[in-house]
């Protein structure tokens, strides 16, 4: 199934350029169009070939790890992407880490003190966090900490050779990206924990006089984490999408800024390769999550069979 989806995704990307009204080469190159660049654009996109050849050639090159040569910098596109991809992946994982560190304890605390004032407060905070668009979070953090207080850097990724500088540049962007996920995880963990607390095996454990702390950490949490795991996997993919805004706001190199700048430059072959790589990573993380999910909960595998 995944293979078929991959093929359809590649076909969509190979042919998407045709939704442009008119000749794509002329529209994209605009003022810059000279016969040589036009020819290079057309051959890079196989626009001189029939549609099915365009798809097959695009697929063939992808299978050989060849995303073509960038029209303007004349560098292999794969190198451009290789340069920036790690920054996006680090950003996504750091945000997820923040979300887990803050969101899960909030959810656990809420669920173990249901209907207390702390639970209600957490509920309000979570829903507010969930509804804050990440670019709004990013802009506000930028305004407060980088422009106003000037305690944290606002631009770029910092000195790549200096881990401390790199980490300082990572703080604001990853918090901005994590905000909705903190709220989301807190809610999710609370809901699944409360559900687990109602299960018979927890009641038996309580009846046997096992301490609440042990019930929570030894029995309940493990089971409550299963749905959370599934969401985390999807989360990585979504964070890569949300990273577009955050990378643009904090002017960080990454897949988001690569695609954004390529769009601004009307460099469509680069846009297409960037989108392809993000989609591939998205599909890959979903597959991986599915796999981990079945490992954690063997019942799912049995149900599928």
């Amino acid at each position: 199934m995944t293979i078929i989806v991959l093929l359809v995704v590649i076909t969509i990307l190979a042919l998407l350029v045709h939704i442009v009204p008119g000749d794509p080469a002329r529209i994209f190159l605009g003022q810059r169009a000279n016969p040589e660049l036009l020819a290079r654009f057309r051959s890079a996109m196989d626009l001189d070939q029939p549609a099915h050849i365009q798809v097959i050639r695009f697929l063939w090159r992808i299978l050989h790890g060849d995303l073509g040569i960038d029209l303007f910098t004349k560098r292999p596109i794969i190198d451009n992407i290789g340069d920036v991809l790690p920054h996006t992946i680090i950003l996504a994982f750091t945000s997820l880490l923040f979300a887990v560190i803050v969101g899960i304890p909030l959810g656990v605390y809420s669920a173990s003190h249901p209907d207390s004032w702390a639970d209600r407060l957490t509920a309000i905070i979570s829903i507010s966090f969930i509804t804050i668009p990440n670019y709004v979070g990013g802009l506000i953090l930028l305004l407060i900490f980088a422009v106003g207080l000037q305690v944290l850097p606002s631009l770029g990724v910092g000195d790549k050779g200096n881990p401390i500088d790199y980490a300082r540049h990572l703080i604001l962007p990853s918090i901005a990206l994590a905000i909705p996920w903190i709220g989301y995880l807190a809610r999710l963990v609370r809901t699944s924990l409360l559900e687990v607390f109602n299960a018979d095996y927890i009641r038996s454990a309580r009846a046997a006089g096992i301490s609440e702390v042990k019930i929570l950490y030894k029995y309940a949490l493990k089971n409550a984490f299963i749905p959370t795991m599934a969401v985390l996997g999807v989360g990585i993919g979504n964070l890569m999408g949300g990273a577009v805004f955050i990378e643009v706001i904090f002017n960080r190199p990454g897949m988001g800024t690569l695609i954004y700048n390529a769009i601004k430059m009307r460099n469509y072959p680069l846009v297409r390769s960037g989108v392809l790589v993000v989609a591939l990573l998205f599909i890959l993380t979903n597959l991986l999550t599915d796999f981990i999910y079945t490992l954690l909960d063997p019942r799912i595998q049995i149900e599928r069979k």
Partner: protein, 273 residues
Amino acid sequence: MLRRPLGALGFIIVWVFSLVVIFAPIIAPYDPEALDIPHLFEGPSSTYLLGTDHLGRDILSRLVFGSRIALVTALSSVGIALVLGLILGLISGYGGSTIDNIILVILDSIQAFPAVILALAILSLLGPSLLNVILVIGFTWSPGYARVVRAQVLSVKENTYIEAERSIGASRKRIVLIHILPNILAPLVILVAMDIPIVIAFEAGLTFLGLGVPPPTPSWGAILSEGFNFIRMSPWSIAWASLTLMLTTLGFTLFGEALRDVLDPRFSGLWRA
């Protein structure tokens, strides 16, 4: 619904938002596109309640008129997603396994892209305009609706009353339109309510990146993006537009959740905030 304080808060925010949309020309103190060059980047004052932007335009008036863009985009794109999703979902759920599998692959492929990335890729080809943004968001959102419709159809069509209808020789069209469709609407109403704030934020985000509603139309995304370009000159555009967006999405979300608790009591208690 109103017995719950957060639901009531959501209702009030949605109500105020609707009033602002309807009475925008009366509420806005100035023309949202009128320039006042001697008064650039001003903070809040009695003349300009929320201050002015880089062209001396009144931020309050721009926010007030921006609410119209937000609502128009949200309603039309969710409407498009709903119609597309209904068509695909009904065909998929009631059309036999071959067509079902084909539609599922298409839905999976569309959802293989993060929504922002897909929307950016398509908009980069079509060019930014209000209509294109609406179409692209509608298209990007439709698989979600198609899936819900399909799942509902699959469960509803097992009911005895559908079997009875089939046994008296009713046509497929009659069964789908008269018997299945009305029975799957409740979850769709909830989905629409929950999606409206998400789409408002999404559109503002695309506009912020310069691929949504083009200037000089006053839209929340544009106000943010102009504020961002002049972030070191004045914080007011960003501050007010962020606050507006946060309040609106929060209000619509609380409203949607209250609506869900009323329409689908199975959920209540679990997510109660």
